[in-house]
Symmetry: C2
Amino acid sequence: MLRTHNNGELRIANVNEIVTLCGWVQRTRDKGGMIWIDLRDRYGITQLMLEEGKTPKEAIETARSLGREFVISVTGTVVERLSKNDKLPTGDIEVKVTELSILNPAKLPPFLIEDETDGGDDIRMKYRYLDLRRNPVRQNLILRHKMAQEVRSYLDKQGFIEVETPVLIKSTPEGARDFVVPSRMNPGEFYALPQSPQTFKQLLMVSGFDRYFQIVKCFRDEDLRADRQPEFTQIDCEMSFIEQEDILQMFEGLIRQLFQNLKGLEINEISRMTYAHAMKYYGSDKPDIRFGMEFYELKSEEVDLTSGKNFPVFDAASVVVGINAKGCAEYTRKQADELTDFVKRPQIGAKGLIYVRYNADGSIKSSVDKFYSEEDLKKWIEAANAQPGDLLLILCGDGDKPRKQLNELRLEMGNRLGLRNPNEYSVHWVVDFPLLEHSEEENRWFAMHHPFTSPKPEDIEFLKSGDLGKIRANAYDMVINGVEVGGGSIRIFQKDLQAKMFETLGFSDEEAKHQFGFLMDAFEYGAPPHGGLAFGFDRLCSLFGGSDSIRDFIAFPKNNSGRDVMIDSPSTIDAKQLDELKIKTIV
Amino acid sequence: MLRTHNNGELRIANVNEIVTLCGWVQRTRDKGGMIWIDLRDRYGITQLMLEEGKTPKEAIETARSLGREFVISVTGTVVERLSKNDKLPTGDIEVKVTELSILNPAKLPPFLIEDETDGGDDIRMKYRYLDLRRNPVRQNLILRHKMAQEVRSYLDKQGFIEVETPVLIKSTPEGARDFVVPSRMNPGEFYALPQSPQTFKQLLMVSGFDRYFQIVKCFRDEDLRADRQPEFTQIDCEMSFIEQEDILQMFEGLIRQLFQNLKGLEINEISRMTYAHAMKYYGSDKPDIRFGMEFYELKSEEVDLTSGKNFPVFDAASVVVGINAKGCAEYTRKQADELTDFVKRPQIGAKGLIYVRYNADGSIKSSVDKFYSEEDLKKWIEAANAQPGDLLLILCGDGDKPRKQLNELRLEMGNRLGLRNPNEYSVHWVVDFPLLEHSEEENRWFAMHHPFTSPKPEDIEFLKSGDLGKIRANAYDMVINGVEVGGGSIRIFQKDLQAKMFETLGFSDEEAKHQFGFLMDAFEYGAPPHGGLAFGFDRLCSLFGGSDSIRDFIAFPKNNSGRDVMIDSPSTIDAKQLDELKIKTIV
């Protein structure tokens, strides 16, 4: 070792020891007679001290030549500090230098290597290796490391076997776009990178592996929205001879252990909510239930408290829904306008926002006073279960639209009212997802989860009767604080049902066979009942780290154009490589 | 859970319990009045029993309809067996069935699902999911799982941080051929799949991560020799502020722990041998040192015990080397001919084999008696340190060739003499590899390890003087039983030296900058001294599993044409996909 200790470990007990330390120069303070250097490494910071007249001259000279981020080695004696620094674990001591040598000089970094940096996003990505020196970024990756170890430890103890599935697999047109890899040895043919190890983990169940897991890279060639990465990591799991409830409990256990061991938090009840309930009361399949503010209906298939009053906007809508913003009756006109602007933003797309103030004195004032009497509005207040001082916020429209818009408003109100504390965690399941969803655009049905998800046994009749929208799946998502962190399903394990499913999704027999023949074959040789789930590992890390951005938890992320600006990739390749691969670019 | 117990856990203590089991039908024995079924899952086999007249009729009927590999569920009572089976952990009990249902029927598998199967390689690969049901194959993957957990546990405890490096990176022409991935969002440009995370792990050292590891998939588009896979797994590690000796010790510790915890074996001394020594005495950079049989020289730059006797073959050779096959003087003519045939095989390519029998009675008989007197041969015997009863086997030629051929013969003799016991493990390091090797074909120098390997400080002068063949590297391989399981080096961390290295390898400044500019840049911002290594994880597993084939330790391997015959990949892709990627195949 080039060092006897790291920069985080020296304590008062080490006083009088002769030590050798290595690291980066965080800062130097030259007070003439005395020079102090903060020496940094992954483990911490240790203060070095040199004294004119006592420290050897060469060391003093070298110290004066140091710049920020120089890599140095020092030898010296540990001494007790005169003025201690209780913010540093090593703050009781400093090292009186006797030898100092530069292992590698450093150019001035293009941004400050401090917790708070002056570097913008672009420059920090280009010099990601310097950004990674910053404590908060490193801590994110250390958290990721710890979480990976905890996940494996839990699953290993539960009898799961880690199996590596292949990265060079076969392209399937269903779902998102694949990245493909031309095969030199098989000209004209391509591998694909996996969007998930789905079929392989199901084959492992057919093989009798019983419990499988993997922390695995997956790939999707999608147009990148903010915070999507073309390569991402999943905690991928599958179990045999289980029912949905077994899976929910197994992975509740995992999440509880992660919170316990990584954050010292006990997670209480992990509730279950049906998809139908979530959509009806939150307008979202991943509601944040740290706060209530459930939707109430003023007009729907079941209720109508709005018609017959000649308010054309509501009359034209099939759905009128609202939330109750508790204690917000005092909102100024400006605040109300802000909310209206919020819901009218193109990303949300509402035409307007109706409000009803239920003032503290019991009086009622609304933006639709022209059409609705106080008596009418009292019915609304009752439906909203509002108290004096509350503010009703109401949207209208057709189908799911107003609910989805109201979901955004609900979350915004949660933020404004401080109801979404990032240090408070609420974990729950959303279950009973629809099996299929209809695409108006392509006029066909798609699997909401994937084509291997099993319908609920009691809903299989709808598959036969063609009532496809009514079929619920044995599918579930885990939601933490309004973020979907994982999801899965009980799988189809019968060949006939799987064939029926492919047919329903518009696969010809030939297509199904070409793409998934091996899985259909496998189902004929004794497939057990099985199911599983996958967690988004990047997302889970960012949630535990209290951040919205997965990029902060990936060592070398790509930007929104799928570029790694540090290594400058993707890039052109040699003509010779293209020739060998028997492909041509047509740009 | 669809079961109360698995098929490996019921014992005499469970007698009288009512249990539900699930699994695959291994075999059925129908003796008329009694039916026994062996029910199998990953955990073991449990015997089920049905009795005419006592077991419900439907269960009996269902039992009679079962075929091999049917998936069933049974409920019954645990009873003590009349005739116990001490080969099965569950052999003291059986389950008296009261209910039996078929969860999934199975077609007759195309080969026997037994430890010894009748299936050939091709059929087992096509139905890999059935092959994986076989106990030996599953045990291989369970060993792999355990090894992965042990590796991570050791490295985690030693302060290594697991960091995931990207899979979509940049193509570099140096080294083996890359797999590439066309970028749809950046038409005409490509990602490459990593051959190793080499540059990223070095950047992590520049970032101050200090100790990094990852068990990671790597990719090489090479023409596949037997037992090479296009995707393979490495245990990849890097450390900062260390010297070579620190790395050797750290990973000796890892290997010792793996042997201890996975095989219950204490590994004794782990010796170090220079590359020069290994080549001189074993003709190999990965000698199997479970047995001696070192080479001796009869003619070389230092010695000549052959010239001036008019034996034209030796006179024309610059090198004459031999091994001493202890106790083999009695070899028959046929055995001697076999050895001659062995070394003359095209893969080895020797022109012939000279032998000297040192008979038990002290007499000497050789295949070159015409040229060499007993006195001459006694000198050879002395050089070989042979005893009466031994047999000298001698090859000649120029340069390294005869040594490499003799290495093959030595290993063959080791096999024949039973000196290579697969259950005896010898671990050692080969160190001081040459930095560069010259390619006659391309008339240029190549990095023997990779371009980031540092020369030994005392040999740097040869880099300047152009004496390139003399430069030794701070590079090391770990060898177990003649298999290279891992290797690495201390890296260059100074920009100037790295630039000099690229220049020596024939990179123009521009090429070096284009391909590795980010690394050269990084070296300017404070790079610490660092080094590391990588183990071939597939190979390590196969070695621990006592197998020669890595394929047996990969869940879904590819064949020698890089095909996965189970999923039939690679395959053609849609014209639409090619269009989107802006590429054309030219087959």
